[in-house]
C-alpha cells in the first residue's frame, strides 16, 4: 500500500496544481507594490485574491502533508499498524489538523478583518503557522529519537556496519 501511496499522491498533486494554474487570477494580481514605500509589497484585498484559490491551496497543502507523512512511514520501514508507524500516522494527522486550523483562522480573518484575535503576539492564523506548524518537527524528531535503536539503526545494523566496508573490498 505504502509503495503506491506516494505515486498516487503525486498524481493527485498534479490534479490540484493544474486546477490552480487554470483558475482565474485576481484583477489586482499578487506582489502588489506598496502604496507609499518603494521595494515593499502589500497583499491588498485578501478576499479578492484568494477567491478561487483558498480551497485549492488548502487541498494542495493537505496533499503535500500526506505525501510527507507517507514518505516518513515508508522510509522508516515501519508498518502502519506498528507503534512507530501508528505514531507517524497520528503526527501526520495532527499536522493536517494544525494546517487546516490555520487556513480556517485565516478564512475567518478575511470575513471580519476588524476582529482579528491575537495569540502569542501574532494574529491567530500566523500564530497557528509559527507555533503550531513550527512545533510539528519536534514530534517527528521525538519519534525518530525514541524509535532509533528499535526501528532505524537496530542492533543488527550496528553489528553488520563494520563488515560492510570489508565485504566491498
Amino acid at each position: 500500500m505504502t509503495r503506491w501511496l506516494i505515486p498516487l499522491l503525486l498524481i493527485a498533486s498534479w490534479g490540484v496544481t493544474v486546477a490552480i494554474l487554470l483558475s482565474p487570477e485576481p484583477v489586482a494580481g499578487f506582489a502588489i507594490p506598496h502604496d507609499v514605500i518603494p521595494k515593499m509589497e502589500q497583499g491588498d484585498n485578501g478576499q479578492q485574491r484568494h477567491e478561487h484559490t483558498l480551497l485549492l491551496g488548502w487541498m494542495f497543502g493537505v496533499l503535500l502533508i500526506a505525501t510527507f507523512g507517507g514518505l516518513m512511514v515508508w522510509s522508516s520501514g515501519a508498518r502502519c499498524n506498528s507503534l512507530m508507524g501508528g505514531l507517524l500516522v497520528a503526527t501526520t494527522l495532527i499536522f493536517e489538523g494544525v494546517f487546516s486550523a490555520m487556513c480556517w483562522s485565516y478564512h475567518r480573518q478575511l470575513a471580519d478583518p476588524a476582529a482579528v484575535s491575537f495569540f502569542g503576539s501574532f494574529p491567530a492564523g500566523t500564530a497557528w503557522q509559527l507555533y503550531g506548524m513550527g512545533a510539528i518537527p519536534f514530534l517527528f524528531v521525538g519519534i525518530y529519537v525514541g524509535f532509533f535503536s528499535r526501528q532505524i539503526v537496530t542492533p543488527r545494523t550496528t553489528a553488520e556496519f563494520p563488515h560492510l566496508s570489508k565485504s566491498s573490498r
Partner: protein, 492 residues
Amino acid sequence: MDRSQIVLAFILGYMLLCIVVGLWAMRRTRSTHDFFMAGSRLGFVVTSVAIFSSTMSGWGFVGGPGLIYTIGAGTFWMIVSTGLGFCGMFFLLGKRLRLLAEVTNPISLPDVVTARYNSRSTGFLTAIAILLGVLGYLGTQILAMAMVLQSILADVASIGLLPLSVCMAISCAVLVFYCVTGGIIASVYTDLVQGIIMVVAALLVVAATVSSVEGGLEGMTRTILADDAEAMGPWGTRGIVGCMSWYFVFVFGLAGQPHLITKLMMTRKPDDARVMLPMSVVGFLLTALLWIGIGLCMRTLVLQGGHAPLSEPDQASPEFLKTYAHPVLAGVVFAGLMAAIMSTADSFLNIGAAAIVHDIPRALRGRSLNNELLWARIATVVIAAVAAGVALASGKMVALLGAVGWSVFSGAIVPTVAIGFNWKRATPLACNLAIVTSLVLNVGLQVFSVTLPHLFYNGAVALLASLTVFYVVSICSAPPKLDPDIETAMDL
C-alpha cells in the same frame, strides 16, 4: 574606538580565526579523502552544527530579513518548512547514506550515486546538476558576503565606500584560503565556530529588535497588520499558492541539498544520526530568530516613519545592526552574518571542486585525475572566481538567486538520492530523465523569466515533474539488478 571600528575589529578577529582553523586543518588534510570527506571520522556535534549552519546561509541571514521586509509573514513558510525538511532528510538519508558510504568509500555524492545505480551516466548528470546549482548558490553567498563587508567598511571613516568587487575580493580571499588549505575539515570546523556565533548572534539580536519598537513583538505585528492585514497573515503578500509551492520545495528539497547530505557520510557511524537530527533542528530554528526579528522590526520601523525606506530589501540586516544595535552586539552579529554566509559557501566550494576534479573526469574517463589533491585546491580557487563573476553579473536579489540554486538541487537530487537510495526499484534511466527534467525546467523557466499564475513557484513545478518522471519511468522499466553489497546496505 568608535562604533564602526568596534564592528570592524570583530570582523577582522573572525576572519583571523577562520585563517587559523584553515592552517590547523591543513595539517590534518593528507589525502583527497580527507579533503572532500574529512576521512569519515567527524563527531556528531561538529557535523550537526555544520549541517544547520550550512543551511542557514547568507540567503537566510541577509536575504531572509529582506524577504520579510518585502513580502511580510509569507516567508515564515520557508523557516517552518526547513525545520520539517531536516526530519525528512534524516528519515530518508540519515542512516542510508552512511551505510552506502561505508560500502562505496566515496569522495563525493556522485560517487555513491554511480555505485548505487551502477551507472556512470547517472553519476555524471548528478555532478553536472551539482555544479550548476553550486554556481548559482555560491554566487548568492559571495554577493551577500561582499554586501555585508561593503556596508561595514563604508562606516569606517578612513576607508569609506569601496566598490562591491573589491569587497568581494577581500572576503573571497579569506574563504578561499581556508577552503584551499584545509578542505572540508577546515570547512566543518569553521562551521562549528560559525554555528556557535550564529546562535549567540540570533538570540542577542532578537532581544535588540524587541526593544527597538514600542510594544515589542506585538507592537510590530499590530503596526504591520494596521498597514496591510495580508502582509501579517500566514500567506504574506504572495498568497496561499505561492507560499504552499515554496513549502513543497523547502520541505522535500532539503533532502536534495548536496552540501548538507554529503555531511551525513562523514560521521564515524550511523548511530550518530540519533543526536544529529534534534541538534540540527534546534540550531536552525534558533538562528532563524534573527531572520524573523530583523525582518519584522525593519518593516515596522519603516512603516512607522522611524527609519528611511531601504534602498534594497537585503539592506535590512546591515541597516538594523548599524542603527539600532549596541556596537559590541553589532560586532558579534556582523561576525554572525559573515559566518552564516561563509559556512554555506565553503561547503559549496568543496562539492563543486569534487564535481570538477573527481566526478566528471571519472564519469568521462573512468578514472580520476592524477594528483587529485592539487587539482582540488586549484579547482576551489577557480570555482570561487567564476561564482563571484556570476554574482557580479546578476542584478537579481540575493534571496531569489538562492532559491533557484535550491530548486535545481531539489529537482535533480531528491528523486535520485532521497527516494532512490531507499527504493530498489529505482532505475538509472529514471534518475537520468528526472535530473534532465529538473535542469531543463528550472533553467528554462528562469532564463525565459516565466511567472506562473498565482505566483506558483517554478521550482515546485520542476520538483513535481522530476518526481513524477522518476516514479513513472522506474515503474515502467525492468527491475534493475543491484550489486550485492549495495543491496545489503539498502536492506539494513
